[in-house]
Amino acid sequence: MTPLMLAGLVGASLVGLGLYGLILHPHPLRKLLAFNLIGNGVFLVFGIVARRGAAAGFRFDPVPQAMIITGIVVAFAASALAVAIILRLSAESGRVTLDPEAWTKPNGGDAT
């Protein structure tokens, strides 16, 4: 098994694992962790593509690697925004749920 195949296995598994967690976990922070796992899996696929493209004296193709760095930054920004909303939600209502029905029934909270 070559390192590349191994990395491909890890990448694909991370995407699968993350997908499972993203759909099934009810807690938004757990969903966020799962999303980050998918993200890492995707970046690994980019990394494999970059490594395969080794040519012209480079050990990697710089184009996909540059894109991974852009991707990591964007994923972090997304996590920060999500965390801010989650924390605000818990502070406003004392609970964290994504179920829209939960807000409409028990006179779901006029804030302030």
Partner: protein
Amino acid sequence: MIAELGTTTPDGYLLVLAILLPLVGIILSFILGGRSPERVALYSTPFGFALACAIAFHVGQAGKPIVYTIGGLPPPLGIALRADGISAVMLIAAAVIVTAAAFYARAKFATPHGVRESRSSLTFWIMLQAIWAALTIIFVGGDLFNLYVALELLTFAAVPLVCIDGRPETLAAALRYLLFALFGSISYLLGVALFYGAYGTMDIWLLAQRVQATPVVWTAAALMTVGLLAKTALFPLHLWLPPAHANAPAAASAVLSGLVVKGSFFLTLRLWFYVLPALPTDKIAAVLGWLGSAAIIAGSIIALRQARLKLLIAYSTVAQIGYLFLVFPLATGTQSWGAIGWSAGLMQLLAHAFAKAAMFFSAGLLAEALGHDQIAKLGGAARVLPLTFLTIALGGLSLMGLPPSGGFSAKWLMLQASIASGQWLWTLPILAGSLLAAGYVYRILAPALSDGQISLESAPKRSYEAIALALAMIAIALGFAPQTFFDFLEIGRPWRLGNHD
């Protein structure tokens, strides 16, 4: 190759200017703060509109796409921007709706007196410009990774608008929207990675020449499509849309429903018609058509059962998005009916954008005037708010597909295309959707037109009603679009360029 799409055309700089205008606006708004964001946004809209018109003019005059390679570095290494017929039309539509939203939102998102800067005002004006910038890139982008960054820009701009009033239910709606959108972008990005791994480029035009029907390409296309569908809220991935669009302030809802979901749909079009014209796509087109049909039926039926006006309009968006996806079975292939299906899809895209923005604007005015938006308590409202209900009626006309309106043209052309292509089965959801739309529009108008005593909390300003009415009139006017308009939409369609022979 008829047109060379890898080199800059003389008028290509217009594309960069159209993108940079809102970007500069964001930066200025952020640094200056205070009351400036509002002014920056309002003053830049006419320029943006002018740029969009200039682009359309040049595209029409050249009869082929205009191109700009950024930094003078052509693909595969560099990023190209290209505007064809549909880009130009969408740019104008976006400029009009963003301008309308900006003027409509002036009162609600003005910085209050006695405050140097307010939270909702700064957020709204920056995010509005960001949505505009992201959409502009999406409409003219020629590089799949660049388009990914634009998609993320769109997400980061749209989500805070949903929860701008800070109530828990809007925060939950925004969070759900964010998670769906993030899933969508990451799935899209995975597809892009595979495309690069297979063909060493992300340029749409170069890919179109290289792509072959291999398992890798199918996997990449499937991943990108699922991601884009999640962002477009196509049934059954629509769950995030109604709470998000219904809870946002009206000015934001109009932009979200009228434009933002169209951004990811536009990329779905780009993917299947521009990147993958070489693939045998009949089966995929059928699947997308079926999902679209399910969306029409399910969205309309749920819309019928809503108690709140804004939720009804939001579910109507779910249904109308369904129509858009009928373009896939109706416009694939090179036969003449393909062109009819293509025109129909684009007409639906435009008509819905204007009609839905007008309806959300009206719903917002109505909620402010009455203090609620419960449909059951609208008795007699049409007499006190005639202009607002005229707008809702005109918008509804287009949603139902009654002549004369853009919605009618779209649905009529879809029927023509499905019969001409022998796919008569698609006529069923088209007609059923129209009937159901008639049902939910009737549900709004019937109580409003009935007798009843209703008191206004405050009368809406005439100018705001006029903005909504103007958009509804555009949706109607689209029904009178001449043949040259449809010819314009054909500019730059891949098979006309000769890639597909």
